[in-house]
């Protein structure tokens, strides 16, 4: 089931070094790219059907085409490498195992959108990753792939690494821009959208590491080669991080569209012996949980996930078995989103803390049925009333546990933790 498109060089020793990477094809697309017009590249990316790999799945080529035409301001690329969604651990592999694929992708993207400056916004906790990435960028400058004349062409490009300071919300694209500008990482109201008014007030494209990392393959092999993988509407491959209670957790590159349960079974080894599947978080902690019954029919693509009222998200699959206490899981979930709320909008700032305290009250055995109902209502009251979707990430997922595993909350209310049998 596994494929090697993005991860082709991941297992080659020292592929993070430019010499090794070049021996295995890094930067080989650039001649072809610079022979094309920027608009042609955008068309190729559109034709490939590549969708943003940060979680929202917005078509990458289409996003680029939102840049205003004939502008006298500089255009920026911001590469979102804040990878902070719990259960997501895909971009870090690219940063460490094949940073030159990312740099090559940045060159392709910047040339296509006529940008001469790219910022890589990297999660603050990624200390090893930032060292490896910076070393690779330094190598790329020394080798002439970045700087005044990219690969000998009349095209200038600078890449700057900007480290975050440990805030999940800075993965939200406008909070990310605020943070690069040196301000407190708080999402901006939209409109204006970043493509019109982004970094330093200039048109800005923000793409995920994996989206950018997919570009060299698409440009080298053509859109059809990319579309050979995956489904019609969700083409290509994805780096899936499978974690939780499976025998072989890890990062696996798979084409989109595979059946979820088959992947859990065949790729990740299935749940541990003697245990049964209780639920699956399909794409990072913010995506609504799937019951085993729902998981039966889900395939790993945007459309199937949406049809099952959840989201493809970041490809961070968490497998939950029968030992998992869903109420405590929800507490952990709300704890995270509460802690990471930027505190700007009233519903998120005040509401998530309230939700956390109610869940804890339930866990302490002091909760009532009214508390469960209040928790459910608060999800509705908070959701989509805020500048960004951080609160919705918390409420959409919390609601799914409340709806699908309400009996566990009720068991706490009835008296103490639910027994194994009750689960």
């Amino acid at each position: 089931m596994q494929v090697q498109v993005l991860s082709a060089r991941f297992d080659i020793p020292d592929a993070n070094k430019i010499d090794v990477a070049k021996q295995h094809g890094a930067y080989s697309t650039l001649e072809k790219v610079f022979a094309m017009q920027p608009e042609e590249i955008i068309e190729v990316v559109k034709a490939s059907g590549l969708r943003g790999r940060g979680g929202a799945g917005f078509p990458t080529g289409l996003k680029w085409s939102f840049l205003p035409k004939n502008i006298d301001k500089p255009v920026y690329l911001a590469v979102n490498s804040d990878e902070s969604e719990p259960a997501t651990f895909k971009d870090r592999y690219i940063l460490v195992r094949d940073p030159h694929m990312l740099i090559e992708g940045i060159i392709i993207c910047c040339y296509a959108i006529k940008s001469h400056a790219a910022y890589i916004y990297i999660r603050g906790e990624y200390t090893t990753q930032v060292k490896v990435l910076q070393a690779a960028i330094d190598e790329a400058y020394a080798a002439g792939y970045l700087g005044e004349s990219v690969a000998g062409h009349d095209y200038k490009l600078d890449v700057t690494v900007h480290r975050g300071a440990g805030a999940y919300v800075c993965g939200e694209e406008t909070a990310l821009l605020e943070s690069i500008e040196g301000r407190k990482g708080q999402p901006r109201s939209k409109p204006p959208f970043p493509a019109v008014e982004g970094l330093y007030g200039c048109p800005t494209i923000i793409n995920n590491v994996q989206s950018i990392g997919s570009l060299p393959f698409i440009l080298t092999n053509g859109p059809d080669a990319y579309k050979a993988y995956g489904t019609e509407k969700s083409p290509g491959t994805h780096l899936f991080g499978i974690s939780g209670l499976v025998k072989k957790p890890g990062m696996y590159e798979l084409p989109l569209g595979l059946p979820l349960l088959e992947v859990i079974e065949k790729v990740a080894g299935g749940v541990r012996d003697g245990r049964t599947l209780k639920g699956v978080i399909p794409g990072g902690s913010s995506t609504p949980v799937l019951t085993p019954e729902e998981a039966q029919t889900v395939t790993l693509d945007y459309e199937s996930m949406a049809a099952h009222k959840t989201m493809f998200g970041s490809g961070g699959i968490v497998v939950l078995d029968n030992t998992v206490d869903m109420v405590k899981l929800v507490e952990n979930l709300i704890y995270f989103y509460h802690h990471e709320s930027c505190g700007q909008c009233t519903p998120c700032r005040e509401g998530l803390g309230w939700m956390l305290k109610i869940v804890r009250k339930i866990i302490r055995g002091e909760g009532t049925t009214a508390d469960i109902d209040l928790l459910t209502e608060l999800c509705d009251n908070i959701e989509m009333k805020t500048v960004c979707v951080l609160s919705a990430a918390c409420t959409m997922s919390t609601r799914s546990y409340l709806n699908k595993f309400r009996h566990e909350f009720e068991a706490y209310v009835a008296g103490g933790a639910p027994t194994q049998a009750a689960m």
Binding site: S189, T346, E350, W354, N381
Partner: protein, 520 residues
């Protein structure tokens, strides 16, 4: 007239001013959209989410009204059940961690949380868990006291220090419900407009040390007036109250919106000048250092005038246009030399490029209009050989050193017509108290040549006579403001076409264009 657009609110067609956001445009026609963080002087921040409104057929269907401009044909929903629910929900969320200490909160009665709770929520609390505890009575400097628990994090105060004073002392630290407004360690508020954050704060989180716990807001009578702290003439509210068995006392000044003068703000020094209206007032007439009856004091003045060989009259640059005109008439009638000498009112270099002016007098521009000499040379000439000096309200001690004042008074007998007890009134042979500006009405011309009107705000238990009345009693011809205004209109060309009885709320710039406009 401003351009208009037609749109629909709750299905009703409404015409509003174009180019404005929904809050301002609707507010101007009497339709309220609740909001906490938006303030017209500080722009839209969009953090409180209280102003979310529905846009029919809109994308997105739910928008913050503060960040949404009116557009022709727009269909805005304010009374849809989903919008009412949002308002109720936001209020609930604002209040869960709020201490609800209205009985001891200075903001009670003029608090947006109270108002909106009554108007948009009204539901009992569902909070059964411990609220977030934060710091209280924090000294933010400049006599601003902050209560973090009452704060709704609207960031108006933060934006004020960043956008208006550009001093940036305030910030919001921490995230989520740990977020709070704070100063940087050891760096308190340090600007001359700091107390405006108290007015800007929609709740009781920012309080003035000076006003705290003095009065309940609903007992205060809020009378419009003009600040006389400097020549800017900021528009203010005089908030005053007569407690049972006590006199009418002023508790605070607050800025009153006038886009043409001060916008929404005023300086802290000006704000504190209310104290001069309450304290150190000349209440009882004095003759030769002892308390005397009013009639006796007037008689003493008249006798002094008739007995003098040469009289000098000194007028204050704080006096109203009407008062100055009456005094000028009076001085001419007794052949007295008139001076407006008041160098001490000018603090060179004290002004800034916002509101504060060097000239701490309210009406010096009227001197120019009425050809009154305020030079030292003019004063010296007026006083030279004079055996009587009649001083109308001018605090001469501000302009002259002790020994200079003594040498002036060595030759001339001093008569003080004054609202304040100053060093000058103490040295006078006769002192006659008069009403101060909060108890009187009149016109002022500010540093930018704008003519403004203030009316009587405070009514004392024992009202003092106005300066014009006293001037009339000691021999002046003009008996009241109406006569003074008629005289002014006849005598001063630039005032000829202005209806001095009907000065518009924003005042009139004494430039030809605006005068002509008003007259037309």
């Amino acid at each position: 007239m401003a351009e208009k657009v037609k749109l629909f609110v709750n299905g009703q067609e409404v015409e509003v001013e174009a180019g404005k956001n929904l809050i301002d445009a609707f507010g101007a026609v009497g339709i309220e959209i609740p909001h906490l963080c938006y303030h017209p002087a500080l722009g839209a921040d969009g953090n409180c989410r209280m102003c979310l409104v529905g846009i029919e057929d809109g994308r997105p269907p739910l928008v913050p009204a503060c960040k949404t401009k009116v557009a022709e044909g727009m269909k805005v929903q304010l009374d849809a059940e989903k919008i009412k629910k949002i308002q109720r929900d936001i209020m609930e969320l604002e209040l869960i961690n709020h201490p609800i200490d209205c009985p001891i909160c200075d903001q009670a009665g003029e608090c947006k949380l109270q108002d909106y709770y009554m108007r948009y929520d009204g539901k009992p609390s569902r909070m059964t868990v411990k609220p977030v505890l934060k710091a209280k009575k924090m000294d933010f400097g400049c006599d601003v006291v902050h209560d973090q628990e009452r704060c709704v994090l609207c960031a108006r105060c933060v934006r004020f220090t960043r956008l208006v004073t550009k001093t940036g002392e305030l910030g919001i630290v921490n995230r989520t419900d740990y977020a709070r407004v704070n100063i940087f360690p050891g760096r308190p508020l340090n600007n001359r407009y700091a107390l405006n954050v108290v007015d800007l704060c929609p709740v009781g989180a920012m309080t003035s040390r000076d006003f705290r716990f003095k009065q309940r807001a609903w007992f205060l009578t809020k009378s419009p007036s003009i600040c006389q702290g400097c020549s800017k003439g900021c528009n203010i509210f005089i908030d005053h109250n007569r407690e049972k068995y006590k006199d009418d006392v002023i508790y605070r000044f607050r800025p009153r919106l006038n886009e043409k003068v001060n916008g929404y703000f005023m300086c802290d020094e000006g704000r504190m000048t209310y104290k001069q209206e309450n304290d150190n007032r000349l209440i009882a007439p004095q003759v030769n250092g002892r308390e005397a009856g009013f009639a006796e004091a007037i008689e003493a003045v008249r006798r002094a005038i008739s007995g003098a060989t040469k009289t000098a009259v000194l007028v204050s640059p704080n006096a109203s246009l009407e008062q100055i005109f009456s005094i000028r008439q009076f001085a001419a009638s007794i052949n007295a030399a008139l001076s407006g000498y008041s160098d001490g009112y000018i603090k060179a270099g004290d002004g800034d490029d916002f509101l504060i002016q060097d000239d701490k007098s309210a009406n010096r521009a009227a001197f120019t209009l009425l050809n009154i000499d305020d030079s030292k040379a003019g004063f010296d000439a007026a006083i030279n050989g004079a055996d009587l000096l009649i001083n109308f309200q001018n605090d001469l001690g501000r302009s002259l050193a002790e020994d200079q004042l003594a040498s002036v008074l060595a030759n001339a007998k001093l008569i003080a017509i004054s609202s304040a007890a100053t060093g000058c009134t103490a040295k006078s042979a006769v002192a006659v108290p008069v009403a101060s500006y909060s108890e009187d009405s009149g016109s002022l011309i500010n540093c930018d040549g704008r003519l403004q009107r203030y009316e009587i705000a405070v009514a004392k238990n024992q009202p003092l006579k106005s300066l014009i009345e006293v001037t009339n009693l000691i021999g002046g011809e003009i008996a009241n403001n109406q006569e003074a205004r008629a005289g002014l209109q006849a005598a001063v060309a630039v005032l000829k076409d202005i209806d001095l009885e009907q000065i518009p709320a924003e005042g009139i710039a004494l430039t030809e264009s605006e005068v002509a406009h008003v007259a037309a």
